[in-house]
Amino acid sequence: MDTFKLLQDLADAPGAAGREEGIRETLEPLWRPLADEVRVDSMGNLIALQRGSGPEPRPAIMGAAHMDEIGLLVTGLEGAFLRVGDLGGIDRRVLLGLQVRVHGRRDLPGVIGSRPPHVLPAAERQNVLPWHELFVDVGLPADEVAALMRVGDTVTIEQPLIALKSNRAAGKALDNRASVAALTLALEALRRRHHAWDFCAVATVQEEVGIKGAITSAYGVAPDLAVALDVTFAKQYNDSDSGTFELDKGPTIGIGPNFHPQIVKRLIEAAEGEEIPMAQEPLPGSSGTDAWGIQLAREGIPTGLISIPVRYMHQPVETVALRDIERAGRILAGFVSGLEEDFRARWEDEV
């Protein structure tokens, strides 16, 4: 699978939180040939099962990556224009002049209008506008807008994935389609690789509005272990070095209360064993990822986290190094493949 093409298919698909149909319909046919069973649960999580080779009852590991993206919600119609609000944590600084896709009775391209500098006092040219001054314009007259759009329709960013120098890519929704791509690469690798455990890949919904899909799918899948995949902050020219990670120097492995030390250890060993570069990412509190929800499902699930560094997070031009996606997939596949049948029982006895 060509990583850019895979990421392009996934990133360009729409799927704002709670409206993940577009990305799910793109992803399902990619996962189906790689899995023994594929299903969609009542929340909309996409779940693919790859059976392991160990004797039944087999333990199961869940790999989770959220497929929803941040976006906007139509909050009102005003003549030919749409009023919008935040859905999932969009950065208002990027909205003026942004191209979008409005998911009404049919999908329509549009733009968030910005008043020309000629009519703006100099002092206002750097002002980031409040929601009540932001409008989506789809170029249609008011009656057509009223027929095609309703309050509650979602709006996603329109920014096709672009290739940058140094094997990097920029686009919308790389948080977290980069991880969905890595999870897909792990599924592909594990199709050809021995694993004793059942591997359950889950593309979760509604992470950006509170980790909802991870919580319910972890309950439904009831795995013995879980590893979430998400993005983390990459070093960039206009941010500090503290808490940021170099692009193309490998994914990070989360360390902290959200993560079981035995999983952390094994993830690091899996990376080192395959000579994959990575960094350790200390997260003293909430990781803000699916891992935070999965850890407390049912009676508690030992959980780990692999993160892919991304620049300009929650902006239309999130930037990633393609090799970091491939590395994240390989670390996960190596970790799953290396799980002994009694892996969990073994370290539970040690305590």
Binding site: E78, G79, G89, D91, R92, R93, V94, L95, L96, G97, L98, Q99, L108, P109, G110, V111, G113, S114, P116, P117, H118, V119, R125, Q126, N127, V128, H132, E133, F135, D137, V138, G139, L140, P141, E144, Q159, I162, A163, L164, K165, S166, R168, A170, F233, K235, Q236, Y237, N238, D239, G243, G288, R311, Y312, M313, H314, Q315, P316, V317, E318, T319
Partner: protein, 350 residues
């Protein structure tokens, strides 16, 4: 797609910030060849198209549309390999974060990102960073690579691609590729009674500079500037007493802008033609923006000039929007009004 929108698409997607208009000249030539008598480029980069008249009118008429668009220029390189940029022409810094752009002759893709919302100070979220705090990321891994790929002075344009939305069009640089499209249509049409000099001008966005020398060269009896002008018709908090122009209400006739005042007889002529022919038109709110007429009207001993424009939303931002009917209306109005120009309309001593 009509010929007009087809040409608008070609010209909107062409790249040419002020002082680097070659891409637009290249896109224009094939649209003009075979339709005009002579094409040439002057010392500042203006593209001249001469279309000889039928001989019925003694006038020399200049019609301009500017080729240049607002954009960015590389002014430095960071240690990490990002490109420092400054604006060419007027752009509000607040439209830059989150943009994708094209860098240089080879159109290298680049992006402008800001610090992630999760890491930014709350106070920074309501103020866009100035251009001095922004940079373009093309994926270069260090300063040397960045300098090699995008040396100082490299032009940077918005990456927006043209698209049609029903009766509207969306794309970059409609100011003034809309005017260029209309001028192409006029030059491809029937011969005029007078000698027509269509000039696609340079450097309008940095001071109406190309038009000034073009008007000197042509020494016309009258100048007409075709523009994509600002429509500021978004809903507003305060009652809007002067909505500038509005989409769908026809071409906008300028009474005066920041750069010039239309002579009263020339103004009346355009209004009367529109009324007589039943052509939709509107007035642009006076006093805002400068246009090529500002350069033309004080050329040599003075040239009567008028600006007529297609209303465009969101000009000087990555995406502008116009109504196809307004663009077609501009071509019709200028075509008819120009054909009926007579020396008496231009003579102020009479």
């Amino acid at each position: 797609m009509s010929t007009l929108t087809d040409h608008l698409e070609t010209l909107s997607n062409a790249r040419g910030i002020s002082g680097a208009e070659t891409g637009v000249r290249r896109a224009l030539r094939p649209l003009l060849e075979g339709h005009v008598d002579k094409l040439w480029v002057d010392g500042v980069g203006n593209l001249f198209a001469h279309k000889a008249g039928t001989g019925a009118s003694p006038l020399r008429v200049l019609i301009t549309a500017h080729m240049d668009e607002v954009g960015l220029m590389v002014v430095g390189h960071t240690g990490e390999g990002a490109l420092r940029v400054d604006t060419v022409g007027s752009i509000a810094a607040r439209v830059l974060p989150g943009l994708s752009v094209l860098v240089g002759e080879d159109a290298l893709p680049g992006v402008i990102g800001v610090q992630a919302i999760h890491r930014a100070n709350r106070g920074d979220l309501d103020k866009a960073p100035g251009t001095d705090k922004l940079a373009v990321d093309i994926g270069a891994t260090g300063k040397d690579e960045a300098e090699r790929l995008a040396p100082l002075g490299t032009p940077v344009v918005f990456a927006t691609r043209f698209r049609q939305l029903g009766a509207s069009c969306m794309g970059k640089a409609f100011d003034d590729r809309a005017g260029c499209t209309a001028l192409v249509a006029l030059l491809r049409g029937e011969r005029f009674p007078f000698d027509l000099f269509g000039v696609f001008t340079v450097q309008e966005e940095v001071g109406l500079r190309g038009a000034q020398v073009a008007a000197y060269t042509v020494a016309p009896d009258v100048g007409i500037a075709l523009e994509g002008t600002l429509a500021d018709d978004l809903p507003k908090e305060e009652p809007d007493v002067s909505p500038t122009t509005e989409l769908g209400k026809g071409p906008a006739i300028t009474v005066m802008d920041r750069s010039y005042i239309t002579p009263p007889r020339l103004l009346s002529h355009f209004v009367q033609v529109a009324e007589a022919e039943g052509l939709a038109y509107q007035f642009k709110q006076p006093g805002i923006g400068g246009t090529d007429s500002g350069g033309i009207h004080r050329a040599r001993a003075g040239v009567p000039a008028i600006t007529v424009a297609v209303p465009c939303r969101y000009i000087h931002s990555p995406v502008s929007m116009l109504r196809e009917s307004d663009l077609a209306g501009l071509v019709s109005l200028v075509d008819v009004a120009a054909r009926r120009l007579a020396p008496s309309i231009l003579d102020r001593s009479a």
